[in-house]
Amino acid sequence: MKFLSDKAVERLRQNANLPDLSGTRYQLIECIARGGMGTVYAARDETLDRRVALKVLDVSVADGDLARRLNREARVLALLEHPGIVPVHDVGTLSDGRVFYTMKFVEGQRLDKFIETVTSLPDRLRLFLRICDAVAFAHARGVLHRDLKPANVMVGAFGEVLVMDWGLAKILREQSAEASEDDPNGTMLHTPPRPNDGGVQSTLATQATGQGTVMGTPGYMSPEQARGDIAQVDERSDIFSLGAMLRFLCSNPATATNRNRKSQVDKSLAAICAKATETNPANRYATVTDLSADVSRHLDGLPVSAREETIFDKAIRFYRRHTVAILLIAAYLTMRILFLIFSRR
């Protein structure tokens, strides 16, 4: 009697789980990521002849709670039309009863991988600012991401930055009454995905839960999220995650040059990170725009609101900002002094 190997069993299981796309305009290409609730596939939209990412539930309960969650996630994405947020194309139910939605197929790298190729600190900060733009837009639409981390940001082939995985998103304002009905506490349990090496990040699976549930990713989740204190979770929780991301971007030693290492200990940047990741939300930046404004000011060599400077710090910053001009004037004065000395001889 011959037994199937574990590998063969796993392959059979996966094939059995493949969604039935008959009756839709999509043709399955491959599985690109798995989450606790659903799986993301690369698919071809035959009508528009383009690649899309198709997220489908693992269970075939069209009117179940998970289905509502997936629908809700799609609606959150639809609410957020921004160049920095992955756009949703379509939502529906497959013939096997599983709910799905399709979104832009992003070819690129996750930020935590991409950043290894970016050695310049200013370039990293500019990337960060684009993430801030997308998150600020979502906040303006009344949506919290609640799971911001480098693995949830994709950098496309042309340098486009896309914030992914809005599965944990919470709608603050009642712009979508239906969405809030699904999630009265606005709280969901996060199940990490098992992405394969296809280079495409999926949105993550979520499950409804109540007060006291811990959600997010350790290291990036705010203390109030870690405590499961839903009442305290607001825009400043995302700001905490952004601060943790900023710290990651500034300190990732993988490819940092000596010059960058010097910049890593820059006091202004450290102060920005510290303010954004304050334990007490009241001490953090009030808005993402405030945080990004401080980072922009740091990039421009201007003082930041997160730190009071001493005269010495001001002098150093002035020198860094006007190094060439100062050196040119010094060269001119030196020349004049030398002329003076030699003319007296």
Binding site: V324, A325, L328, I329, A331, Y332, M335, R336, F339, L340, S343
Partner: protein, 124 residues
Amino acid sequence: MKEGLMNKVLLGLLLGAVLGAIDGLTSWFTPAVRAQLAGIVIGSTVKGIIAGIAIGFFARKVHSLALGILFGLAIGFVLAFLVAYLQHGYYFEIILPGSLVGIIVGYATQRYGAAPAGIPATTR
């Protein structure tokens, strides 16, 4: 125009005038020409203004820090050479500071001058 930034031509003119005047005043340290100080200061200031305006116009047309500095050097050198030639001497003492002033004005107009509306900021 960006807040706090000055028109490139005006910046070149002012910087050229100030640096030119300072350049001229330093001749006070040379006893042989101290008697002609006023003439030297006026001449040097006029030279600085001409160089500054030319460099400012160049900076308005060409948005390149390197080319701005090179143009400043060239203008500073040529004008200083003409002055030294007319003086029949002090070539080194006139050309070196004149060229350096040209470099400073060339750098400053590109780095600190405001681009006209609709044109991106200068290369930093």
